[in-house]
């Protein structure tokens, strides 16, 4: 019986992928850079307002405890202290923080009655300086009544009584459990020749940008409005939720984005910092800044990432055909549950990887523990899915005695099968996985390395090759979140991005973005697309950012959306403007509007090279010569040249009401193959890269240089996740490595010196120009390839890698255990 996987809607693509584009596809230097390179970029901590005060928080030293008593009297008396708030006081001034979990798990800006993880705010001080605020924090005495501490996610399944973090959700820390069978899982397993079984462990890391999260708030008692400067995203999507928490009407809050010094998900939506700053700003009547310091950022930033235990089974035929895939996942969400299990929706977007696997069984158990809560990190949970499916495919190859590359080739979704609906209902829009693999093998010189590795092994060296073919879903639709909610209600289905365009009287083009800069290249991308649309030189284009007062509906970057979405919005706004431009130009040149096109800053008549009007003259005309318009009463010919456009998600469908599939929710499907050669020192557990090559298919590229920037940067994130990074909590819930001295972000010395990048472009049939997202793929492709390479290098020991991060300590332990086992045998 064929599974109902849903339907594929018609494409709304207007700009077909094509040769001969002038600005798209070029490695243009970034327009963001001059101000950033000269120290003139304004980041969150660079907001400096007259009379500004500063907030510091008292962080809980307990992982789980009742707050018995807080004595703030000494702190209040310290000169320079303006206000001190406890959780009880803050609860009177503010409501619960925004959450997407359903039913909601409430979190407050300052913990009230109970602390649920080390580092959670139990009190906060606003003072003349951050120094004084921290002095005052030292003077606050908190008495705790310890509660049982839950650290291990599998133990959390058994918690009862006082060990339960949120008893209003029942006597359990299992906050959400969901089971889906997508397709005929039981039947597929019944016809399998072989089932691969593994327990896999993906560790808790985090985006950990160099800049922490922060906000500066101003309360204007005259207009009764808050203005909040913050390095946030999604402020034009759900920024109004902060007004709810601050107990003001939504229009009494304006959020102004600053530059973000990196996010990788950690700044997807700031609420704690804006609420903290705003709460105090109103209270003390002065501008107030709350910037996380590095300890706040690792202990209390709501941005740790997936922390999962997988029990997985992969059903295969003897010849290596992959049939079905079953997974039970226990995911440690920490103390709160802001995005629900959005990270698992994400994973299901590409859960079968690059393979035509017929069915998938998923059992997710989301547990709460006494840790900083999960948020988003480059991949948002789907990077884990990549690791899991690739580890299983490697295992299947090994157990079936097949070649690791050939088993992939055999199971790839073939290039003529796109658009392809996978069992979960998500669509893969386009791809050519064999080509990406072949290009990667070429770029790495796989054959050459194979030979070299053999020789090196003969010389006693432990060298291995890793190759993984993985997916990069891009352009999320908000349906990915609510399919999981158990109340059965239809949730949000909109997730657009917008653009405002204006051509001024002298022909210069202004683009206003409604999404912020968070370390990507939004101004450059917009400039290149606008230049293409209007055929003007990029030096005539100026890009700025709206605040939320002037903001249009925009989801913001995240889920590798931005480039696709802003391009769609620009194309939409440009179409409106061009229609007007051609109408006016037709009149000015006495030509037919259908015969006109834009070229080199002019409107020209096709096939009549001399006949043209410059955009500059035309704009002047449009602004000031209303009565010289073709028809002054034409409602499309109002004075000036401006347009806005809200571009909705290019292709998304509703989940199946019977929950047989999730609909199309993450369909613009990138693909990449990462390959590397590593040498391991089995005695010390150290490894080094001998070579690295990766090929990405991000559809049509707007700027290959910035895309490669994301690829390489992502690789090093991936190396961190796979080999060194872990936010670790001991059995008492005490974080052991909350500073950069011990949370090991790879430095240049741990990063490959030469990461060779290649590209395959299979255009998306659904997005403008065929673009796909490409912001996350690097991190999503590296871990499974690195695990495979290290496993290959250590193959003489027969080691199977099932856990990350592969620190020196872990690699050495695996070798030691293998040696002990061999000695015992």
């Amino acid at each position: 019986m064929a599974q109902n996987r849903g339907h594929i809607p018609k494409s709304r693509q207007r700009e077909k992928p094509r040769e001969g584009l002038k600005y798209i596809g070029k490695s243009m230097k970034r327009v963001e850079d001059p101000r950033i390179l000269t120290g003139r970029g304004i980041y969150a901590d660079d907001i400096n307002l007259p009379d500004m005060a500063h907030v510091a928080i008292v962080r809980s030293s307990h992982a789980h405890a009742r707050i018995k008593r807080i004595d703030t009297s000494k702190a209040e008396k310290l000169p320079g202290v303006l206000a001190v708030l406890t959780g009880a006081q803050a609860a009177e001034l503010t409501g619960p923080l925004p959450t997407w979990s359903s039913p909601p798990v409430f979190q407050r800006v300052i913990a009230h009655e109970k602390v649920r993880h080390v580092g959670e705010a139990v009190a906060a001080v606003c003072a003349e300086s951050r120094y004084i605020a921290e002095d005052a924090c030292d003077l606050i005495e908190v008495e705790y009544e310890p509660l049982p501490i839950v650290v291990d996610p599998e133990e959390a399944l058994k918690s009862r009584g006082d060990a339960v973090l949120h008893p209003d959700h029942g006597d359990t820390n299992l906050i959400l459990e969901s089971k889906f069978d997508f397709g005929p899982v039981a039947e597929d397993f019944a016809r399998a020749d072989h089932v691969v079984k593994r327990r896999l462990r993906w560790p808790r890391s985090g985006g950990t940008p160099m800049e922490t999260n922060g906000a500066t708030a101003v309360w204007d008692p005259g207009s009764q409005r808050f203005t909040i400067h913050a390095n946030t995203s999604m402020y034009n999507f759900v920024g109004w939720m902060i007004a709810d928490t601050l107990k003001v009407p939504h229009h009494k809050l304006n959020i102004v984005p600053t530059l973000a010094g990196g996010s990788f998900g950690a700044k997807l939506f700031l609420y704690k910092q804006p609420v903290m700053a705003a709460m105090f700003a109103k209270l003390v009547g002065r501008p107030v800044k709350y910037l996380e310091d590095r300890l706040d950022a690792s202990l209390n930033n709501d941005a740790h990432a997936s922390d999962r235990v997988y029990y997985v089974e992969l059903a295969c035929k003897k010849d290596g055909t992959l049939l079905s895939f079953k997974q039970r996942i226990i995911d440690d969400y920490g103390a709160y549950f802001q995005y629900g299990v959005g990270q698992h929706g994400n994973a299901l977007a590409q859960v079968v990887g690059a393979y035509a696997i017929n069915s998938v069984g998923v059992h997710v158990q989301a547990v709460l523990t006494n840790k900083n809560q999960q948020g988003a990190y480059r991949g948002f949970g789907s990077e884990v899915a990549n690791f899991v499916i690739e580890r299983l495919v490697d295992a299947a190859a090994d157990e079936l005695k097949l070649d690791r590359i050939e088993i992939r080739r055999k199971n790839f979704i073939k290039k003529d099968q796109f658009p392809f609906l996978i069992p979960t209902g998500n669509m893969y829009d386009s791809g050519d996985y064999e080509k990406v693999l072949d290009e990667t093998l070429k770029l790495l010189d796989y054959k050459g390395w194979k030979k070299k590795v053999e020789e090196m092994r003969k010389a006693g060296r432990y060298v291995g090759i890793g190759i993984a073919s993985t997916q990069e879903r891009s352009v999320f639709s908000s349906t990915e979140f609510w399919m999981w909610n158990l109340d059965g209600k239809i949730g949000w289905t909109s997730s657009p991005d917008s653009m405002s365009l204006k051509i001024d009287p002298r022909g210069r083009i202004y683009g206003t973005l409604h999404s912020p800069f968070w370390g990507n290249s939004p101004e450059t991308v917009a400039t290149q697309v606008i230049a293409e649309q209007f055929q003007v030189d990029p030096s005539n284009i100026e890009i700025t950012y709206s605040d939320s007062d002037k903001g249009l509906h925009s989801t913001g970057p995240g889920g590798s959306r931005f480039t696709v979405m802003v391009t769609g919005a620009i194309v939409g706004a440009a179409a409106i403007l061009k229609k007007k431009i051609f109408k006016i130009a037709a009149h000015m040149m006495e030509a037919n509007a259908d015969d006109l096109e834009l070229r080199d800053g002019n409107v020209v008549v096709k096939g009549a090279p001399g006949k043209k009007v410059s955009l500059q003259d035309l704009a002047f005309h449009a602004y000031y010569m209303r009565l010289s318009m073709p028809d002054p009463e034409d409602p499309e010919l109002t004075s000036g040249l401006d347009a806005t456009y809200v571009y909705d998600h290019p292709v998304t469908t509703l989940p199946d009401p019977k929950r047989e599939h999730m609909g199309i929710f993450y369909p613009i499907m990138g693909h990449m193959c990462h390959s590397m050669v590593v040498e391991v020192d089995p005695e010390t557990g150290q490894f080094k890269f001998l070579d690295y090559a990766c090929v990405h298919d991000s559809g049509v590229m707007i700027n290959p240089m910035t895309l490669e920037g994301h690829m390489r940067g992502g690789v090093v994130n991936g190396i961190g996740s796979a080999a060194s990074e872990q936010y670790f909590y001991d059995k008492n819930g005490q974080p052991t490595n909350n500073l950069f001295t011990d949370y090991i972000i790879p430095s240049i010395s741990e990063s490959p010196a030469d990461m060779k990048c290649g590209h395959v472009e299979t255009p998306s049939p659904f997005t403008e120009y065929g673009i796909k997202g490409g912001g996350e793929g690097g991190r999503m492709g590296t871990p499974p390839a690195l695990a495979q390479a290290i496993e290959d290098a250590l193959s003489p020991f027969g080691i199977k890698i099932t856990e990350l991060p592969l620190t020196q300590n872990v690699i050495r332990r695996l070798v030691r255990e293998a040696q002990a086992k061999k000695a015992a045998d």
Partner: protein, 286 residues
């Protein structure tokens, strides 16, 4: 992450500094500050008084003296690292500096401050042990010298009394023919060691005449272990001996576990690095 307030005293001379220490039992010295200020920023320490000795340029020198080199305590790491005198007389110290911190930290951090901070995972104390360095301490009452073997007492603890200032470190020149080695495993390059092993080795023909081996990152301080050196002295300078020394190291140390390396890892590293560092040292015996 801002430091707590403190009283600030700027010492203009060595006498000034020791007088300030004598005056105020709560005073702590501020040299390069590369460890101290980081600890103050997280308020792990809140000294009441800091005596800033950065103006003591009289303690910024490297010179040849009495069959060795004398390094002023306020000599910045980077100066030591790039010193031709150090390379000539104490090549082990020069080599160790490939593993120590990063340029900007070395520009400010001082050699003396590093030793007095006595971080158990720091490299320089272990080097001081095997090179037989001597610390020259000065107080208002006078000067005294302490051998490196007696100097390091525990985590951030040394033999220097509260009122004493380390002014100079004397390191005997490498005896002709002596080999040396330094090896370390750390989470990242420039990080503190999970385990570091340092050695000097002198041969008499094919036999080990003397060997000194010191360890960082495996105890509350940098340490030498008699069984390790006993496993070497008078033995043939070969792989088997070096392996025996490694095995002795594995047994002699009593390391603790932390997030980066558990006890077994540190024992493994001590054994492996001992073996390797001795082989490297042998290759340098001329």
């Amino acid at each position: 992450m801002k430091p707590a307030p403190f009283r600030y005293v700027r010492a203009r001379s060595v006498d000034d500094a020791v007088a300030a220490l004598a005056r105020d039992p709560e005073a702590k010295l501020l040299a390069g500050g590369q460890s101290l200020i980081a600890m103050m920023n997280v308020r792990a320490v809140k000294p009441e008084t800091l005596v800033d000795i950065n103006a003591l340029s009289a303690l910024d020198y490297i010179k040849v003296k009495d069959g060795g080199i004398a390094i002023g305590a306020m000599t910045r790491h980077e100066t030591v690292k790039s010193s031709p005198l150090v390379a000539e007389h104490c090549p082990l110290l020069a080599e160790a500096y490939h593993w120590i911190a990063h340029r900007a930290v070395r520009n400010r951090g001082t050699y003396g401050g590093n030793l007095c901070h006595a971080d158990p995972a720091s490299e320089n104390p272990a080097v001081a042990l095997v090179t037989g360095a001597t610390m020259v301490l000065k107080s208002a009452k006078g000067e005294r010298t302490v051998a490196a073997d007696d100097f390091f007492k525990g985590v951030y603890q040394t033999a220097a009394r509260h009122d004493e200032l380390l002014i100079e470190v004397r390191i005997p020149s490498r005896p002709k023919g002596q080999g040396w080695g330094f090896m370390e495993v750390s989470p990242r390059k420039g990080d503190f060691a999970m385990t570091a092993v340092v050695c000097t080795l002198e041969l008499a023909g094919a036999t080990v005449k003397t060997a000194r081996v010191a360890y960082a990152g495996i105890a509350d301080r940098a340490m030498r272990f008699a069984p390790v050196e006993a496993a070497l002295t008078g033995k043939p300078a070969n792989e088997a001996t070096f392996a025996a020394a490694g095995a002795a190291a594995r047994k002699a140390i009593n390391p603790s576990s932390d997030f980066h390396a558990d006890e077994a890892m540190r024992r493994d590293l001590a054994e492996t690095l001992t073996r390797r560092v001795l082989a490297a040292a042998k290759a340098r015996c001329t």
